[in-house]
Symmetry: C4
Subunit: 195 residues, 4 copies
């Protein structure tokens, strides 16, 4: 299951690059300027799926066994994850033309929310069926299981913001992704020393 | 073998998303409306290959060893699985224009049938050559081995329906995929409680 | 190394399907007729890379350890494998128009030959550096190591045939791929019984 | 983590082939001539990501454990790796038209430099957090950790060269990739014998 999940998530993470790699004629600077909404959308999707993947493997790495129901819940989660490039492309288009931005950003947010809710279902099922070995009650697992709640709240807030100011919602989604992925403590450590 | 199978199946599952991700101009709502046959075809293919993958890994996870003949049977199975995006695209086109729908749906059904028949061959060979360890006769494996028969019957019925009412056959294929993938018992459990 | 090799080979195997999945308008039957050179080229590439992958994993599955030189030889092998979709597309185009068929088929054959020669280099290096554990001298490994020679001879013969009759060479390449991938003994077994 | 990294890197390595596989009409010889900048850029990217992957797995293969901060640093590294096909395409276009070559080559070089600097961060973090088991201080690991410095110096030199002579910088990047990937000692061994 791990290998398929990793492969499908990796593919979904890198898929939006295809739309960047195929570029119209122009000087490199012009192309960069023209491609920035796609680039932003690519970075956003990559970090969002990456954060979901970190949460996902924090859960499944400790599994002692799995069953066919978990495999199917997992498959449905992947189905939603792989759908993400579609609203990602819509957001990139809307950033370019500002037309239909609200619908695009709302669909994007609903997809993110659905991914996280599937994550809740996976955690709930794994706990209920005791898929973890008895000694898996460590700190990191607990954090991985409790973490989704603030993220879900953040997504709901961004969804509501997006109904009024779609561009602001994109900034919030970006901020959530940065908070989830960039290891600030490690960066601070490197910059400010070993204190 | 697992890694290649997982990679190839994951790729085949996500490939139809490429055709959704590249979308013509229009507002997001218009694009969603225009893309719905591709979306439906994507969900259908994802769930169908996903179900085949669950069946496949239920078989091979318990292998003690493998041999070069099984590897080759497996390769031929993947060849058919990876072909699925072609009839999937045909069905999506036919849903859009209703032209040539019968041929598209029939080719789609024949491909699904071929995938399941290859699954039969894999099971038969693995049993005949004793690729399973002696203690692998557990409940889930037996279910995995007996399960394909109702699915094959369902596909044959859908094929025959498709000759007369192609759209109805798409509904049947969708229903079979939903039955195979959605863990109804787990959903009922969540909705109706722990009874 | 296994995971990257499997991923890259799986990707190279399934890549030609992308060109089939994107199809011009027309009824399904017309599209099938128009797509047959791409379909044939897809099946040919899938089986050829699949055969190379079987040979490759027969070698590396038994490795006790690996070193950075083997990793790099392996990377160069993958470089040639991943190049295959390019001549595959050329052959598909040439089958359609019969123009420039000889060059396309020759480039295809040279790529196949290069893949197999890289396989020789991998085997030679692994033997010289004793990457196998002492007890890995089993029958199947020996067969995997001796097998490439008839294949290489077959490819050279097909290359020469292709200079005069390009279409005949495609038939020969197809025949070699079928012989390498289809487990005839198992099929005969099923058809003629357990004798 | 290994599986996702391998999958994403493998995908990024093979992605530029997509742009080669889709080719305009013309005889195979004409297509080869027209495709050479893409082919060169493909080989360059494949070998560069391949070298980064060898360095990456030399580090992580010996890990005893990993933590969520390393996973996130790794994700950011992959983000930069997967960006590489974009400047690769720009360089291929610039080789074709010689217009905007300096910007394209500079962006390419900055991306390569960023990949290697992320590699430094991964090594530094893994050392600081003692992710290696105590007995992992072997020769090959030490070499893998010290190796990036000459590569980084080479990339900086190539960047400076590229500001004045962009084409020369492409040659230098190609040379660095060849030095990193081609196992010259093994080749010399084969050519000049066992001395």
């Amino acid at each position: 299951m791990e290998a398929l999940s990793d492969g499908v998530m990796g593919f979904a993470m890198t898929l939006p690059v295809v739309s960047i790699a195929v570029h119209p004629p122009g000087t490199p600077i012009q192309q960069l300027l023209r491609a920035w909404p796609s680039l932003l959308a690519y970075v956003l999707s990559f970090m969002t799926i990456g954060a979901a993947w970190i949460a996902h493997s924090a859960l499944t790495d400790r599994f002692e066994r799995t069953d066919s129901i978990f495999l199917r819940l997992n498959l449905l989660t992947l189905l939603v994850v792989v759908f993400l490039p579609f609203p990602t492309g819509l957001v990139a288009d809307a950033l370019r033309s500002t037309e239909g931005e609200r619908e695009a950003v709302t669909l994007y947010g609903l997809t993110l929310l659905a991914i996280r809710l599937m994550g809740f279902a996976l955690v709930a099922y794994a706990r209920h069926e005791n898929l973890y070995p008895p000694d898996a009650g460590d700190e990191e697992l607990k954090r991985a299981q409790q973490y989704p709640l603030p993220v879900v709240i953040g997504y709901v807030v961004a969804l509501l913001i997006g109904l009024a100011w779609p561009t602001a919602a994109v900034v919030v989604y970006f901020g959530i992704a940065v908070i989830l992925v960039v290891p600030f403590r490690a960066v601070a450590h490197v910059v400010f020393g070993h204190a």
